[in-house]
Symmetry: C2
Subunit: 551 residues, 2 copies
Amino acid sequence: MATSTRVARSLRSVKLSSRTQCIQRVRPVTQVRWISGATTEPQQPGEKRSTKTAPAKTVKFTSETYPQIQRHSKFSQLTKEHVEYFKNLLGSESAVIDGVTKDASEDIEPYNSDWMRKYRGHAKLVLKPQSTEEVSKILKYCNDNMLAVVPQGGNTGLVGGSVPVFDEIVINLQRMNQIRSFDEVSGILVADAGVILEVADNFLAEKNHIFPLDLGAKGSCQIGGNVAANAGGLRLLRYGSLHGNVLGIEAVLPDGTIVDDLSKLRKNNTGYDLKQLFIGGEGTIGIVTAISILCPQRSPAINVAYFGLESYEQVQNLFRQAKSKLSEILSAFELMDGRTQKLLVQASGKKLPLEGEYPFYALIETSGSNTDHDSEKLNSLLEDVMENGIVSDGTLAQDQTQIQELWSCREGIPEHLGHWGGVYKYDLSIPIASMYDLVNDVRDRLTKAGLVGDDDSYPVVDVVGYGHMGDSNLHLNVPVRSYDKRVEKELEPFVYEWVQSKNGSISAEHGLGLQKRPYIGYSRSEIMVKLMKQIKDLYDPKGIMNPYKYL
Amino acid sequence: MATSTRVARSLRSVKLSSRTQCIQRVRPVTQVRWISGATTEPQQPGEKRSTKTAPAKTVKFTSETYPQIQRHSKFSQLTKEHVEYFKNLLGSESAVIDGVTKDASEDIEPYNSDWMRKYRGHAKLVLKPQSTEEVSKILKYCNDNMLAVVPQGGNTGLVGGSVPVFDEIVINLQRMNQIRSFDEVSGILVADAGVILEVADNFLAEKNHIFPLDLGAKGSCQIGGNVAANAGGLRLLRYGSLHGNVLGIEAVLPDGTIVDDLSKLRKNNTGYDLKQLFIGGEGTIGIVTAISILCPQRSPAINVAYFGLESYEQVQNLFRQAKSKLSEILSAFELMDGRTQKLLVQASGKKLPLEGEYPFYALIETSGSNTDHDSEKLNSLLEDVMENGIVSDGTLAQDQTQIQELWSCREGIPEHLGHWGGVYKYDLSIPIASMYDLVNDVRDRLTKAGLVGDDDSYPVVDVVGYGHMGDSNLHLNVPVRSYDKRVEKELEPFVYEWVQSKNGSISAEHGLGLQKRPYIGYSRSEIMVKLMKQIKDLYDPKGIMNPYKYL
């Protein structure tokens, strides 16, 4: 497991303790890591910031896709006086994109549409405040004048939550991008909401720390948006959720009130923990302008292994063994079914790390402080799962390039599943034991309906499943050649009813946004929804914050 | 570091890798583990449940200690009709202690007073519901009839939050004590609020898991109360806060609404995370009746070391080294100053594990999955901190008895500091670098005021500090021979102003309760307090829940 050996080792035919028989099968990583399993955005190789790469005007307007959603007549129409106020307030020319008094549709388009090309709004004004005070004045003015707004970070969401539906003003946080402080003893970082996740993580890397959240869109997504969406991502299994790691929040309410809850303390039992309402609040009660977050130390030893398995039962066995034997160093346990990996190969031309084909694959990552100890623990696991026939084949990354290559088998999935035309994506939480049953049931259902096939006469390419097994988080994906009402009719409400029957969640980590707003009842009772609406009414009585979404 | 060697090893004169030179200096543990550093209660040896052990009638009534607090005239007086309703509702004789229609003061006394003998109410009715539905009906009736209530778990709080002030009805959760479910794959436990923490942990131990919260009062405190108080305790450094670990809550609002947010999912992004308001809400907006919580696997390898150090600077160095070298296995880092340990010795007659006397002591615990690996990591730390002169002496527990013995040097403190008559206790969060300065400043201040001395003419015995260093959580304690207004005048608002000047918290983990209600302004802005009051008014518009406390 020396990191200097630049090969992957097959576990099938090689004695585990030997480093002599090696098969060179891992190729260099060419694609940038990215993933749908969280609020995310596709990245162009070499491109870090990509609001500009949002899709062109071919995207259908949300108002056309969802004709049942009507613009609230209570909201004012934007006037040149409004625009004048904002120009005076923000000063800089670059802080206001004005499509009200002139044609600026080209410039505004990237802020109007989401990267999935599914949602597109009619916004004519984009504001880019540079301070909390500016955000406060903007919101107060909007609230006083009944102007609807949509808060926007990296615009990497998956449920249409970060783009307007009609003419809501886009308040983009990209210019609030300063790291405010970092304490090396406590590991507590305080930073503006608009700091890009990767920038924050790179900053922390220099201090030997790590941001306790990682996801494929890290090059584009902003930490304020991550918090607003309660992003889950790849390291939740190890470092826990943002509800535990975020120590403080600065936010602005619609009436301009600045919520100064930016505690830098790990413990502070002085009153209700109001900041939690903004974590996962999706910008519906206020705009997060800064966060304080507890960052763990960076682990010097990282190991990644990739396995082929014969059944979902064996994946569960591997997970149990991994939890037991890797314990405190286990940092990721990802599931990919064989169909997912097959489609990845077809779409990307990539070669998988293992020779044979298997119905299931799993990726395990460990992060620890001692390379030898971690390798020993991992070897102990490998010996056990090979001897007991839990895994059929496997390979272990030997260096950073191979680590990235193995990860790309998981992280390349969302990007490449769109290869055939489109993807119906579901982000679900289901008890582990029955998690994969849903994929089979949906496949059976669509097959029986005559919708799945190998040629272009069938809309559905396949029904596949992958996700964060360690968090009981399944991404059910249905790649299609074209979006088709017949497929949709088979999928919904079937999928949501299925999840409800297992007391699962219809949105594990992507949030509600526009897409899942109608379906919250499958995961929450009427009482809970009523109580949530009370909170919305309390903080945003005029309803100007991110309307048409969430609740 | 074999656990079979029943001795502690001095680090001063012994080569670290050698097991030959050992000094037998650790005696068997005679006292039950307990601690003030969290919501807690003293335990009698061998006694697990101790509402009955609450102090006698000698405790001064809270209404006398705080004459400025007046009973709200809006609350109804209890009548025999009210009592009749509750008796019919709860059925069982044992579910109602009726001091309204007869004299039951002896039976009610334990529910009226706190274990510190600081707070005592005038309650005449204690209700012990056995189901969520019963809690719902009780609260609805109280709300409809303007009857104030105080929710009560194990009554182990430190700020007077769990006992009545006037004649509030005590709703004690002790009969709701069922474990509802446990999933061995996910580690998710669902249990009634009245389950005693130690019972839950013992149940989990059989399943090779651990409750992610541990504190000295575990034999008495209830998990619902832990959640309502957002207890911190001894393992927060490792497992994080309840805001991260609690996955779901079932609670009852004053109007009887049952909040059914008892999710068993690690991820569920479907709306505002309302349950967080009940975590640390101290029973002021509703009563927690059940929780769902993520429980980590139990670590088979536990190591505990105890060090003597020459300065607080060196304690900080040790902490940095421990974080770096123990990393993922570090599960506790506790600070005790020399004065604290000296008083412990004087009060308990106990012998400390180290021969010499030091200005500071630290206790480190590791929890991991591999004994050899953990020992190696710990040895590497020990070699480093000995070589670099960071620690002056140290000892390492060799078996479970010694582990308990070392822990007793930390956990015996709160109990024994009361030896001289009383203790002024402050539970504070302060940035680590300046944390101990407060103890010195307070000692200087009280000394200059002529209040500290060795004989009975001085009220103050000493000013000492200890606490959860890993969480920046200091327990400033002022043991006194008698409570004295002169001492109080020197302490307050000085301590709170000092903490405010460092942006610290005046209540790190104990909560606000009655004691700290007036001081929230030192840690929270007016805006934050106003926003919190909005939440209180939203959920408890009539103000019947735990009045006179919190906000």
